[in-house]
């Protein structure tokens, strides 16, 4: 049933099938009237299974992917809309296969983290995981027991959107998946979020929609400037194409560099800017980053995990998929600006982190800072720099979910995240303190963990190109260390605040997600080749297209 031709489609649509199953379950309950609790449990299991199958398919795709070839693999395509040469075209190269695996893994982690299962009674009471324990102000109801079927549907839809975005190789299909992610995200933050959820949700929605409509215009512009390419069945019905593989070829040939000007500006530059803003909002790049802290602080833990782990990677992925291969000349032109914004991200966000008192906000801003490394590495356009950038996407995709899970652990117990109000937590929750230390050190780039490898590669790669920027960024690593260590100091060390004396340590629902991620962070720290070996051939191809021969 699952073959090399359709494994990516299965990975994309298993969650959607799960969604359909949940809808059927809901309809069944409407007619048969079994208990709400039963429906909740069924919906949870369905979500977990569907996401697990999708994860399984992404692992399968990773196994079937042949890293020795640099081209696109595991392709499936057929004609979708004839009039515009729109195809259903999915496939992966080294760049996207790493993101596909990450999406499968982190989504599954998010599902596990959405279950109220595997916890002790004391913990469950503390976290508010009681079915009808309505808001008494003291123990607000936990998101994992609120409107469960709807929550699972939204999370599954989100997973389909994310997976689809990473496997789509048709611009139109890409855009559809890209937009499909917006709706579930809005509802996940808006319904299951914290106190200022409405504000955070609409802010996220508006920011990303502005970005994506600009992207839409650029996509149409690129379409009109492209030459025709044959469809899946060999026919050619329109004079242009949405096929990203073909477009990349045409981009290398300079088709878009010679396109007619827009409003007096070169087309490729305008298209670059429009696409770049759309993607930069997702990264999020300074000055478009302000939605991120709000969204993170209000989102429930698993949604933060997905947001930081996967959604932020859409931005750099899009830039590497669209801007770099399609518009190489404009990419050269904009390189130093991108690098500048990367440095601003790194330094500015690091300083902002220092000033945070909310643990989750600190982690959110640290994401902004770390994504700056990806921007810097990308803009250097050296093989090492781009490898580092993509590896940074992957390693940040492992570490930041850990960090948000950690913030969730303490929030579930204390119902606040003020670093200053904790103290000496290491005495009460030693296991938690240990795993937090691991995650913090991985994030600040301690050698032996994946964060170090990515930052090192980025800095080495950008050093010959942007000397000044690299030095500034490297010094910012010290600030990173400072805010993490200071946070540990304030929250975990010192005298134990007696309020937290009886707090239960990690329960299995937390161990199940934290330990595997921690293990991956360490393994990749010692053996980064596992990922680098797969992504490098594709990136070498990308870089060779950028450098004038």
């Amino acid at each position: 049933m699952i073959s090399q031709q359709n494994v990516l489609s299965w990975a994309t649509f298993f969650p959607l099938i799960g969604l359909a199953v949940i809808l059927i379950l809901m309809a069944t309950r409407y007619f048969l009237g079994f208990s709400r609790r039963a429906l909740d449990e069924l919906a949870r299991s369905t979500g977990l299974i569907a996401s697990g199958l999708s994860f399984f398919c992404s692992v399968l795709a990773w196994v079937w992917f042949d890293p020795s070839q640099s081209g696109v693999q595991l392709v499936q395509h057929f004609t979708w809309i004839k009039g515009f040469n729109i195809e259903y075209l999915v496939g992966v190269d080294g760049l996207s296969i790493s993101m596909v695996l990450l999406t499968g893994l982190i989504s599954f982690v998010a599902f596990v983290a959405s279950m109220p299962w595997w916890s002790s009674a004391k913990y469950a009471r503390m976290a508010g995981m009681v079915e009808h324990g309505h808001d008494d102000g003291h123990h607000p109801q936990h998101f994992s027991v609120r409107m469960v079927p709807g929550y699972m549907c939204m999370l599954l839809l989100l997973q389909t959107g994310m997976m689809g975005t990473f496997v789509a190789l048709d611009m139109f299909l890409f855009y559809v998946f890209w937009e499909v992610m917006l709706l579930p995200m809005y509802f996940l933050i808006g319904i299951w979020g914290g106190p200022r959820k409405e504000y955070a949700a609409i802010k996220f929605f508006l920011y990303t929609l502005v970005g994506s409509v600009l992207m839409l215009l650029a996509i149409i512009g690129i379409y009109y400037n492209s030459h025709a390419a044959p469809l899946a069945d060999g026919s050619m019905s329109a004079g242009h194409t949405f096929n990203l593989i073909e477009l990349a070829k045409q981009g290398q040939e300079g088709v878009f560099a010679g396109s007619p000007a827009v409003l007096g500006f070169a087309f490729s530059k305008i298209a670059f800017i429009a696409l770049f803003i759309g993607f930069a909002i997702k990264i999020p790049m300074f000055p478009f980053h302000t939605w991120l802290p709000d969204a993170h602080v209000e989102a429930p833990t698993p949604v933060s995990v997905i947001l930081a782990g996967i959604l932020l990677k859409m931005g750099p992925y899009g830039i590497l998929r669209f801007n770099y291969p399609l518009l190489p000349d404009a990419t050269q032109w904009a390189a130093w600006v991108v690098a500048l914004f990367g440095v601003i991200n790194i330094v500015y966000a690091a300083f902002v982190c220092l000033a945070q008192s909310d643990l989750k906000k600190l982690i959110a801003y640290s994401s902004v800072s770390h994504m700056g490394f990806t921007l810097l590495g990308m803009s250097a356009m050296t093989p090492t720099g781009i490898s580092g950038a993509v590896f940074n996407m992957f390693s940040h995709g492992i570490i930041s979910p850990m960090l948000f899970l950690i913030a969730g652990v303490i929030y579930d117990r204390a119902h606040h995240r003020e670093i200053g109000r904790f103290g000496g937590l290491a005495q009460a929750l030693p296991e938690y303190a240990g795993i937090t230390g691991l995650a913090f050190f991985a994030s600040l780039g301690l050698p032996g963990m994946c964060g170090f490898v990515s930052e090192f590669l980025v800095l080495v790669g950008s050093f010959p190109v942007f000397l000044g920027f690299t030095i500034i960024s490297a010094t910012a690593v010290i600030i990173t260390a400072a805010y993490y260590l200071w946070a540990i100091h304030r929250a975990f060390l010192g005298k134990l605040n007696p309020v937290y004396k009886d707090y239960p340590d990690l329960v299995w629902r937390e161990r199940l997600v934290l330990y595997p991620l921690g293990a991956i962070a360490i393994v990749l720290g010692f053996y980064p080749q596992a990922v680098l070996g797969v992504i490098n051939p594709a990136l070498t191809l990308l870089v060779s297209g950028l450098r004038p021969m």
Binding site: I191, I202, V213, L217, L263
Partner: protein
């Protein structure tokens, strides 16, 4: 290639309109003769009448493969008109179904409402087909006059009376101005026939470089702007939109639902025909930026479009009444659809057709949801939607689908409509007037983001806010079925819209100039 049909022979091509007329007369008769009728019987009868029209139209549907001028060049019969007739018929049939279970009509007199509604539809049929200035004016009036009556079709309701009065006054002024403009055109050319007008006007209003007279050009410009006024009023484009929110708020909601899609679509059908018959000079619909009297009419329409969508969206931001909000939203959608007209190409016309088709479903759906909410709560404000997702998930989810589709988010059909408009406008970006088109596209794109804000206000109320009280919301079964069908259709055509392309492509043949 056109074939001119003379009077008697024309009648056989006029079957849909004849069937409609018979239905209208029958309804009036029933209303007088049958004393103890329940409104449902009339509804059934009307549906039957509409079905007759459907059959008649179906007879025609595969026949006009080419354009015909009928009744001595008064009316066209072409695939283009047939497309719009189907669309109007769909809007009318759905409105009849919605009205059948509405609370807003005094029960025994529903027959009159149906008869008036069908009269509007007859007018719309004529609007989509008229080839003559006089016919065109009569058709518009045929749509307007029954509409005035229906807008006030709630005896004793002051808001409805106010709506009706406002509608009459604005409508009267607009149609008066239009008639004035038509008289100018007749004075200049000496003919009222659209197919002849284009050619003659072009030679009359030659640009100064070609030895034209300034006076003539000015007169023509004034005339065209006056004519645009009448059309703009029908589609509720800025600055002729002021009637829209008040009428929408006051008039019976099932009629408002119809008003927001039917006459607007008819206005666009008419606009396309007028536009290509004499404003779009240069022979064919494809490829021009400069038009009659040296005025870039596509740019004028483009400016109208930009202003309309922006003003509509900005005004909608802070509306708390759902019907007023949807009124402003419908103004902004007129602005979007005008983009297709401004694109002035085959693709542009096709995009208008697709957009109106999709808009019909999503806007009717949105109004249907408002009706269902108002039936439960007794009023129609955003606050009435609070916690709707917990009271009636189906209603909340389908309403959300309509709103997201109106925003233009994939994978819903609203995105397809908007996609075509953008594609049509941007296809000109490198050509003559490219800067205009790019600017227009950017404005429309930003408007999309603005519109999201107010649509999401409703969604937020439904899904995030807590329910205000223990109110039972149970929409009528027929409404539930329609809500489900509409959203399924939007989803289906958002993912697979080849049929829409094929149908509109086949309907692009139409009569413009002789």
């Amino acid at each position: 290639m056109t074939i001119t049909q003379f009077n008697i022979a024309s009648a056989s091509w006029f079957r849909p309109e004849l069937a409609l007329t018979a239905g209208i007369l029958l309804l009036f008769l029933l209303d007088v003769l049958v004393r103890k009728q329940s409104r449902y019987r009339v509804a059934v009868l009307t549906v039957a009448a509409l079905a007759c029209v459907g059959v008649a139209a179906a007879l025609l549907a595969f026949q006009p493969v080419e354009s015909r001028a009928m009744f001595n060049g008064m009316i066209a019969s072409d695939p283009f008109a047939t497309f719009w007739k189907w669309l109007f018929l769909g809007a009318a049939a759905l409105t009849v179904l919605i009205a059948a279970r509405s609370d807003e009509f005094p029960s025994p007199r529903i027959g009159v409402f149906y008869a008036l509604l069908l009269s509007v539809v007859l007018g719309m049929f004529l609007m989509a087909t008229s080839l003559d200035l006089l016919m065109l004016y009569l058709a518009i009036e045929m749509v307007s006059l029954p509409s005035y009556a229906i807008a006030g079709y709630k005896p004793g309701d002051r808001r409805a009376a106010e709506a009706s009065l406002k509608y009459v006054i604005y409508g009267g002024v607009a149609s008066g101005i239009m008639l004035f403009g038509l008289s100018y055109i007749y004075g200049l050319v000496g003919s009222t026939n659209l197919t002849a007008l284009g050619v003659r006007l072009e030679s009359l209003a030659a640009p100064a470089s070609a030895g034209g007279q300034l006076g003539l050009r000015v007169a023509l410009m004034v005339a065209v702007i006056f004519v645009l006024c009448g059309i703009g009023y029908k589609i509720a484009a800025v600055p002729w939109h002021m009637w829209c929110p008040d009428v929408y708020e006051g008039a019976p909601t099932p009629f408002v639902a119809f008003l927001s899609v039917g006459p607007k679509a008819a206005g666009f059908a008419l606009a396309v025909r007028v536009f290509y018959s004499f404003l779009a000079s240069g022979g064919g619909p494809e490829g021009f930026a400069r038009g009659l009297a040296d005025v870039p009419w596509p740019a004028v329409v483009g400016v109208l479009s930009a202003v309309t969508m922006t003003l509509g969206n900005l005004s909608a931001l802070h509306q708390n009444n759902l019907k007023r909000l949807l009124a402003y939203s419908s103004i902004s959608h007129a602005g979007y659809a005008l983009m297709g007209l401004a694109a002035a190409s085959q693709l542009g016309v096709q995009s208008v057709m697709i957009y109106m088709l999709v808009y019909l479903v999503m806007n009717l759906g949105a109004f249907l949801a408002v009706i269902a909410i108002a039936q439960a709560t007794g009023s129609e404000t955003i606050a009435d939607c609070n916690g709707l997702s917990r009271r009636h998930p189906l209603l909340a989810v389908t309403f959300a689908v309509f709103l997201f589709s109106l925003t233009g988010l994939p994978p819903l059909a609203g995105f397809v409509g908007k996609w075509y408009l953008f594609v049509a406008v941007l296809s000109h970006y490198a050509g003559d007037g490219g800067a205009w088109y790019v600017t227009l596209a950017v404005i429309a794109a930003l408007n999309t983001a603005i519109s999201l804000y107010y649509y999401v206000r409703i969604i937020r109320a439904m899904f995030i806010e807590a329910p205000a009280g223990e109110l039972v919301v149970r929409p009528r079964v027929s409404y539930q079925i329609m809500l489900g069908t509409f959203s399924a259709a939007l989803l289906l055509f958002g993912v697979w819209w080849n049929p829409l392309i094929e149908w509109t492509q086949a309907s692009l043949t139409f009569l413009t100039r002789g």
